[in-house]
Each structure stands twice: as structure tokens, then as C-alpha cells.
Amino acid sequence: MGKQKLKVLLGATALAAMAGQAPAGEFDGITLQAKLIGGQQYEGLYARIAEWEAETGAKVDVISKKNHFELDKEFKSDLAAGTLGWCVGSNHSSFAAQYPNLYTDLTPYLSAEDIAAFVPANISASKIGDALVMLPRAQFDVSVLYYLKAVYEDEGNKTAYKEKTGRDLAPPDTWEEFKEQAIFFADPPNFYGTQYAGKDEAIVGRFYELVVAEGGALFNEDWSPAFNSDAGKRALQWFVDLYDAGAVPPGTTSYLWDDLGQGFASGTIALNLDWPGWAGFFNDPDSSKAAGNVGVKVQPAGSSGKRTGWSGHHGFSVTESCEHKEAAASLVAWLTNEDSQKLESAGGSLPTRSAVWEHVLQEAQSDPFRAEAIAAFQAGAEHAFPAPQTPEWIEATNLIYPELQAAILGDKTVDEALADAAEAVDEMMQENGVY
């Protein structure tokens, strides 16, 4: 009896203490179920959920924590089974278009000012049609060029390159030059000029951005395939040439992001187009042989003068079936507010709020590598464009990537591969009733 009383009393004081900080009880008694992305770089932010709980009186119950691919599978299963009682979900701009009916439009729950504080490009990539289906967190991804500085400082390399091409050796600014240098640096099997993601959505994304940089497009307005074009052929030829010349590891068509990151960190890759999350990893002597030797530069441009810039970002969404949308939207806004983004970007990821970009640039001043990286990413972000915003995107990538691989490995010519891929995508789009 006495014990119970004490507990009640303690509970009451705890509540009172919280009430002192903020107008408590806005969402008293509400429990929100959330499905959040798990993993090192994402979970630091979730510590802030407790603060939000204290402020609003609501409770958050994280019912699932998985990586994005597993979450994607789970969302699809939920849609199929109708198990949509949860409220808040992690989302990604490249996946979001696949579930157009799952998430609600957040616009009614936010002020125009709130929305304007985000980088406009990120907001537009968070929309399906006019519906703002997610609020971006400080996990913005665009790839820039990482390179080994030593390779460019080597006198032997400098003279040999000058002799060969008549130009001075400097980190490349076009993809043509990139290719030339990668082939020039390669010394298999001990050292490679570069590498690229070789499978799944990853290689299609890389191909996509190169097609754009070459002045083409992946899809027409009506979502019919447009990549079987001169720009598409030039883009694919770039991959093929690097592979044929032995400038990339022969296993590159089996690589995904982790293999690429580990590869560059092993110090055996000269040039590497990669994501912001790796910057700290590459320059950390505990994780990387390339530490202290890493240069970062804005990504090169294609023959059209346009730079590559396939980008994506993480965010949080509220389900259409959520019972407490107000509360859920408040949580989502909390997890993406300025303090949250500052906290998260301190870990090395890129923010999606203009004010936080300023903050991050300020913070980086004291660390020359960090400053160089942030400057490169800021420049890179200006050229960023999202993955094609169609529910069919992921399915299309699964049809395209085996054909790209076939061309790279020499099973098919570039023309054949693109024709086959375009035909398969066209057929799929028609079958799915897109046109």
C-alpha cells in the first residue's frame, strides 16, 4: 500500500517537473507507434524522442527498427495485410513514390514558415504530386568526388600524365577526364583508377545521373523510357570503357555501397564518387588507410556541361490511417527541427534546413578536411536532383540493371543492352497501366 502511494507521489513530482519546462499535456495519453530506420548513424537522433515525450505528454512506441530495405519490405507487407495502425514511419525520397496511399499530406499540420525553413529542393523531392508526404531529416545524400591526394602529388604521375595528354594533372572536372585519369592510374590488381556501384538500384542511379549529365533523360514526360538515346549510349559506354580498360576492380559489378566505401578506405582506389556519410570514415585512421590523404571536390560534369547529382534524403512520414495525426506531425516536426538537425549533422551527415547548412559550415571551420568536404558537398548539393518520382522507379531499376551489367561485362553491346532494357521497361509500364 505504502509503496504504491510513494510511486504515485514520485510520478506526480516527475510530471510536475516536466510541466515546469513546457505546456505539458498537449497530447496527454496518446501513444504513437513508430517504425524507424535503425543503424549507427540514424539512431543518435532518437534520443531526442524522450524530450518530445516529456514536452507533450505523448508516448512513442518504436515497434520496428530495421534498415531501409527491410523497412520497405515491411511497409509493403503492411499495405498488403492492412496492418496500418502505426503512425510514424521513416521514409526515403527514392522509395516514397512506391506507396502513394500510405502517407498523409503534412501541409495542413505545418505553417508555411516551417516548410520554408527547409531547403526548397529537398521539400520538392519530398512531395508526391502536391502532397508533402515526408519531412526531411538531416540525412541528405548527394555524391561528390573523393580522391587520393598522394596520386596527384606524385611527381612521376605528373610528368607521365603531362607527356601523355599535354595537360597538367589535377583532379578531374569532367567525366571524360575522370575516365582518362582512372585508366591512367590503374595498376591492377594492386591499384585501381576508380570503381562504381555495380548492381541493384545503385548502378541504375549512377547511370541515371550520367545520362542527365550527358544531356539526356531516363524517362519521357509520360514515363516511357527515354534512355535508349545517344546520351544514354554515351553514359553506358563510359561504364563499359572503364571496365574494359581494367581501370575498375573486376568485381565491381557485384559491389554495393559498402564494398565501394571499404575499397576506397583500403587506399587502393584513386578516384571515388561517393556519399557524404563516408567523409569521416575515409579520413579516420581507425577505419581507413587513406586517412590524411583524402581530397574532396565537387562532382564532375558530363558532356552537356551539366553535373551529375542523383540525390536522396531520409525523412519521416505520418500514415493516412493514423488516429492522432496532429501528434504524429508534431513528432515528425520535432525530429526534423533545427536542434535535431544540428545534432544529427554533427555526426557528419548533411542537413536539409538552410539555417543548419550555415551552422554546419561554421562548425567545420576549425577542421580543414571537414571544411573541404562540406564545401564540396554544398557545391554538389546545388546540382542535386532526385530519383525519378514514379511508383515504378524501383521496379524499373530491376529491369534496367541486369542489362547494364550485361553491357559492362560484354555479354551484350551497348546498343543491344539499352534496347532490351527500354523494351522491358516499356512493357512493364504498359502492364502496370502507366500509359
Binding site: 517504425k35 530506420i37 535503425g38 543503424g39 549507427q40 548513424q41 540514424y42 539512431e43 543518435g44 532518437y46 534520443a47 518504436v62 515497434i63 520496428s64 527498427k65 530495421k66 534498415n67 531501409h68 530495405f69 527491410e70 519490405k73 515491411e74 507487407s77 498488403a80 495485410a81 492492412g82 496492418t83 594492386n190 555501397w257 559498402d258 566505401g261 571499404q262 578506405a265 583500403s266 587506399g267 587502393t268 556519399w275 556519410g277 563516408w278 570514415f281 585512421p285 581507425d286 577505419s287 581507413s288 588507410k289
Partner: protein, 288 residues
């Protein structure tokens, strides 16, 4: 004399050959596994080094420390996963063995109409591809509220293991001469007593090995578990391995550390159950 010597030389040669072959076989079995164990003590930079580092410069417990550390700093709710795995695997194995013993005994000792058909039918349930099963199973489980519970996973694993257990135990019961049980019955035992006193001890080896298989299947199953679990409340260790992969990275060292934690209990259990395996088998061998 000469012949004797020749004979002895031949015997030693054969022995040496046997030893070498055994050593090579065991090496092939062990190396990829021990490589994982070794990696769990090494920093990733050394595992992925090029040129390779053959003799580890540095062995430490960093991966383990990180794993048990706080969330956000590499921590993974290992103990929770471990408990989940243990509850699910042990319970489902026990149930599968009981159900399997009943079924196996029925097939081994009774003849009835449609026996072959039922038998094949049971076995075929194992042939169903996981993909065709996992989604409808998810829907059924979701409708009955068994998603993300131990019970849901236990049910699935029992179903997964029962055909195998029946088959294996059936095979072992067939090895037990039927006269043994009949003799016991003549001595005044009921069928039930005869089973436990005479047939079961002989077939114990079969039960033990079926038990090992069922336990290891449940302990290591991934595809269905990843579909039917979601939070730390029910996630098992194989699903937990995926905590070390994120969109861009794989923490291979950390994954190895968790893998070691998965392997050790399985190894210990196997070693213990082996005793029963031997006891049962020897008896069967002598009597057979």
C-alpha cells in the same frame, strides 16, 4: 615375418593417410568459420587491408564492447535478441520433437490406407518456397495478432521442423526391431510402457539428432523471422545481424562479434546432446 612387416607398414601408411585426410577435411571445415571468429577481434581496417595483413597486429574486444554499448554508438540489444532466440528455438524444438515422435512412430509402426500419400504430403510442406509462404503467412499472423510475438515464430518453426523430425524419427524407429516391443508387451507391458522402456531408448539417437537439427534450423532461420518480427521484443539473432548493415555500410567486424555469440551456445548444445547421441547409437549398434 616379411609379410608381417609389409602388413604393418601398410597399416601405418593407411593410418597416416587417414590422419592427413582427416586433418585436411577438418581444416576446410574450420578455416572459414574461424576466420569469422578471428575477424570479430580485429579492427575493420585490418580485415579489409590491401595488401593483406596475415598475422593480426592487433586483437581487441572493441567490436564486442561496441555491441554491448549504448544505442547510437554501435550498441545492439544483444541480450534481448539472445533471449528471444533462446525462447523461440528451445520451445519450438521441444514441441517439434514431441509432435514428430508421435508422427514418426505412427509411420514406422502402423500401416494404414493412404500412408504414402500422407507421408509425401507432409514432406511436401517443406518444399514450399519461402517467398510464396512468407507474405500470406504474414497476413494470417497479422490478422490473428501473432506478428512480432514469440508464439507466432514458435508456431512457424514447429511447422518448419515437424516434417523433418517425423522423417528422421520414423527412420530410426524402423531400425528398432519390432520384436523388441512385442517381447515387452508379452512380458505384460502396455504399448505405452513398451514404447518408453524399450523402443524409445533405442531410437533416442534419432530423437537427439532430430533435436539438434530442429534447434539449429530455428536458431539460424532468417527469411521468415525477418518477415514476422519487427521490434526488439521478438527479433532473433539472425535478424539482429542485419542491424549491422545500413543503407551504405556493413559493419563486418560487429557482425562477426554477434555471429560468435550465436555460434557458441549452438556449439555447446551440440556438444552436450552428442552424449545422448552416442549412448543411443551404441545401444542400437549392439542390439541391431
Amino acid at each position: 615375418m616379411n609379410e608381417n612387416l609389409q602388413h604393418r607398414i601398410r597399416k601405418y601408411l593407411l593410418k597416416a593417410l587417414h590422419f592427413v585426410a582427416l586433418f585436411i577435411a577438418m581444416a576446410i571445415i574450420c578455416v572459414p568459420g574461424l576466420w569469422v571468429v578471428l575477424n570479430s577481434f580485429r579492427p575493420t581496417v585490418e580485415i579489409m587491408a590491401k595488401p593483406p595483413v596475415w598475422i593480426p597486429n592487433e586483437l581487441n574486444l572493441d567490436n564486442y564492447r561496441a555491441m554491448f554499448g549504448a544505442v547510437g554508438e554501435g550498441g545492439v540489444p544483444v541480450l534481448q535478441y539472445f533471449t528471444n532466440s533462446l525462447i523461440v528455438s528451445v520451445t519450438s524444438t521441444l514441441i517439434a520433437i514431441l509432435v514428430g515422435m508421435a508422427g514418426g512412430y505412427a509411420f514406422a509402426r502402423y500401416s494404414f490406407k493412404g500412408k504414402a500419400g500422407i507421408f509425401i504430403g507432409l514432406m511436401l510442406t517443406r518444399a514450399v518456397p519461402g517467398v510464396s509462404l512468407s507474405l500470406p503467412l504474414f497476413i494470417v499472423m497479422a490478422k490473428t495478432g501473432l506478428i512480432d510475438t514469440h508464439l507466432g515464430l514458435i508456431l512457424v518453426y514447429v511447422a518448419l521442423n515437424v516434417p523433418f523430425t517425423i522423417w528422421l524419427i520414423d527412420g530410426f524407429f524402423r531400425q528398432v526391431p519390432i520384436d523388441l516391443a512385442e517381447a515387452a508387451e508379452i512380458d505384460g507391458c502396455t504399448r505405452w510402457q513398451a514404447f518408453w522402456k524399450v523402443e524409445f531408448p533405442v531410437a533416442r539417437a534419432g530423437v537427439a539428432s532430430a533435436g539438434i537439427f530442429a534447434f539449429l534450423t530455428s536458431w539460424n532461420e532468417y527469411a521468415l523471422a525477418s518477415q514476422l518480427t519487427r521490434s526488439t521484443f521478438s527479433k532473433t539473432m539472425p535478424v539482429g545481424l542485419r542491424d549491422f548493415t545500413s543503407e551504405f555500410t556493413i559493419n563486418w567486424g560487429g557482425m562477426c562479434a554477434l555471429a560468435v555469440l550465436m555460434i557458441i551456445p549452438a556449439l555447446i548444445l551440440t556438444f552436450i546432446v552428442q552424449k545422448h547421441l552416442i549412448a543411443g547409437l551404441t545401444f542400437g549398434g549392439v542390439k541391431g
